[in-house]
């Protein structure tokens, strides 16, 4: 039990993102309302973004901007990679955020379209309308 607990505490970032992901997935699968599904989708994506952000982090490290005097002084300072957090995952996530925002936008637009056409966003009602025709 203690071991498990320590495993969870040691890797709490992973556990958190997995829990978040599952919440999102759960909403996407079980919710009846399309907007709620979209919210679930967004949580799902955000969980992965958090995962990436957390893996770039190092204990006792600082933001990856090389300190020292501007100009020629910077080159002489010894750069130790362990002192800086890894910026790459964070940068990647900028792109991922853009992607998820775009997806979200498209999806919302489609929801509006669906609503205009059927006057509802509840899946069961939509299914009924579709089978009527």
């Amino acid at each position: 039990m203690n071991e498990l607990l320590s495993l969870i505490v040691a890797k709490y970032n992973y556990w958190l993102y997995i829990i978040l992901m599952m919440i999102g997935l759960y909403a996407m699968i079980t919710k009846n309302n399309l907007i709620k599904k979209l919210v679930g989708m967004n949580i799902f994506q955000t969980a992965i973004i958090l995962f990436y952000v957390s893996i770039g982090y190092k204990r006792d490290a600082t933001i990856p901007i090389i300190q020292g005097d501007a100009g020629h002084g910077a080159g002489e300072a010894v750069i130790r990679a362990a002192d800086y957090i890894n910026p790459l995952p964070h940068v990647l996530m900028l792109t991922a955020i853009v992607v998820s925002v775009a997806t979200f936008g498209v999806a919302l637009t489609l929801c509006v379209k669906v609503y205009q056409r059927y006057q509802t966003l509840e899946e069961d009602e939509l299914r009924m309308r579709l089978s009527e025709k």
Binding site: L34, Y52, L110
Partner: protein, 496 residues
């Protein structure tokens, strides 16, 4: 360093930019601009192919940054071929679909063309890139543009179909992204070639296993491998014809390419087949996909829907073939990427022509079509034979390699599924042909005084569509009879 690899991708990207502007200012210029940009893309893809064939793999460093830091385009014979395939189909389809676009989305032709180009950019990016994260971005560019394009289709059904497509597509892409995250944790690199050098040293790592499984499942969702296929039939069937024609042949095939790339160039055959014990199960999945796709297609009343289930079936061919674990099977799968793209394209071209003239394409609506649209039907018949696997059309030859591979791997169930699917497809298509040929029923000797039947007047699709269909039909046979050459010059150099 020459710039062909970048040009293939950048030409349509710039085209999209200009097309967006002209669509706003003066709509008449949009189409020529789009066509030109894709034409440049085709020319660049051809030069690219020639270059790869003569001087081997090209490494193109984006903006001059050195890999593994910068993003690298790595063009070998395989992706040179797929890039050529994508640009040629995109170009031809655009030429064929001018009238369809005018008919279906007259007020939004400009946005259609812009999204069309972005879609092509995404596909080409997926094929060209040598960077794992870049692959994700490109997949999402492709997906995003296809979500919007699907939504442009059938007013009643398309938005909902697109929404479902988004939900499942996002899960697929996210799983892939997650897998890339694990790869990065383990190797600290996103460059495919760089990762490939490190994988053999960490075979036992469970993180790597998780990464592999997540990536592969993500790609499977995007390619609609049964049972992850549920989004595909509705999305493709309700999309506007001009888009269905390109997404159906290319999207799934490019994702199969991505799977092959991950298997061979990132994780390596040794890891996939010797370290992991998954192959047999995946071949079974392929078998089931083939049979399920075939049987679901049998129950369809709408021609478009029927074809979409055939795509599901064909995905089973390629996934199963790639996972047979021998050179023959992989050859068959790669050859089928090319062949299936061509034949699906031909089928959807023909269906697009039918939609243009008939509006509805329920199978029962196709009466007398051989008399009405003889040229369209000729192309359709040829493509159907290719799907069935009648030589000398190309479908036969990829099936040939796949079955040989199945024999070699001892996966007789997969070979049997391939044969059964041939039979199912024969039934499917002859069901359609019968309606086109026999109905409305004649007494067999009706109005024959001129010696030919003109009971139904000819009403063919626009010439541009027919010319493209003719080109693709000929290419079906050409790809078939030259499949030996393709295997020797493109596929085997890549595999060895």
């Amino acid at each position: 360093m020459n710039n062909y690899p970048a040009l293939v991708v950048v030409a349509p990207l710039l085209g999209a930019l200009f097309a967006g502007i002209t669509a706003w200012v003066e709509d008449r210029f949009t189409f020529p601009i789009v066509l030109t940009s894709l034409g440049i893309g085709v020319a660049a893809a051809i030069s690219n192919m020639a270059l790869v064939l003569t001087s081997g793999t090209i490494q193109y460093k984006m903006a001059g940054w050195m890999p593994p830091m910068g993003i690298e385009y790595r063009i070998d014979t395989l992706n040179a071929m797929v890039m050529l395939l994508v640009s040629v189909i995109a170009f031809l389809n655009l030429a064929a679909s001018y009238w369809n676009v005018r008919q279906e989305t007259p007020d939004r032709a400009g946005s259609f063309y812009v999204m069309y180009l972005l879609f092509v950019v995404g596909l080409l990016g997926v094929v060209a890139t040598g960077d794992l994260f870049n692959l994700y971005v490109m997949i999402e560019i492709t997906s995003l543009s296809s979500y919007t394009m699907v939504a442009l289709g059938d007013k009643n059904r398309a938005p909902l179909a697109a929404l479902n497509y988004i939900f499942i597509g996002v899960i697929g892409a996210s799983l892939y992204l997650l897998g890339v995250g694990y790869i990065y944790i383990k190797t600290g690199s996103l460059n495919m070639a760089d990762v490939a050098t490190m994988v053999p040293h960490m075979k036992e790592s469970s993180s790597l296993l998780v990464a592999f499984i997540l990536c592969i499942i993500g790609v499977w969702i995007k390619m609609a491998l049964f049972p992850l296929h549920v989004w595909l039939p509705n999305a493709y069937a309700y999309a506007p014809v001009g888009f269905a024609r390109i997404v159906a042949p290319l999207m799934t095939k490019v994702m199969v390419y991505a799977m092959v790339r991950l298997m061979i160039s990132v994780f390596g055959m040794d890891y996939v087949f010797n370290t992991l014990d998954l192959a047999e199960g995946v071949v079974w999945m392929g078998t089931i996909a083939i049979l399920a796709g075939g049987f679901m297609a049998l129950s369809q009343k709408n021609l478009k829907k029927m074809l979409t289930y055939i795509i599901v079936c064909e995905i089973g061919y390629m996934v199963g073939g790639a996972w047979l674990g021998n050179e023959l099977g992989m050859t068959g799968a790669i050859l089928h990427i090319l062949n299936d793209a061509l034949m699906t394209f031909a089928l959807f071209l023909a269906v697009g022509n039918m939609v243009y003239k008939l509006d509805r394409v329920d199978i029962a609506d196709l009466q007398g079509l051989f008399g009405k649209m003889p040229w369209t039907m000729a192309g359709f018949v040829l493509a159907a034979f290719s799907i069935v696997g009648v030589p000398p059309t190309c479908g036969f030859f990829s099936k040939w390699y796949l079955i040989l591979g199945a024999f070699e791997a001892g996966a007789y169930h997969f070979a049997a599924a391939l044969l059964i699917s041939s039979l199912i497809c024969a039934v499917l298509f002859f069901k359609v042909f019968e309606v086109c040929f026999f109905e409305p029923m004649s007494d067999g000797h009706g109005d024959g005084h001129h010696g030919h039947d003109n009971a139904v007047a000819m009403a063919e699709a626009p010439a541009s569509s027919l010319v493209v269909l003719a080109i693709v039909s000929v290419s079906l046979i050409a790809a078939g009879v030259y499949s030996g050459t393709i295997v020797d010059t493109v596929i085997l150099p890549f595999l060895r």
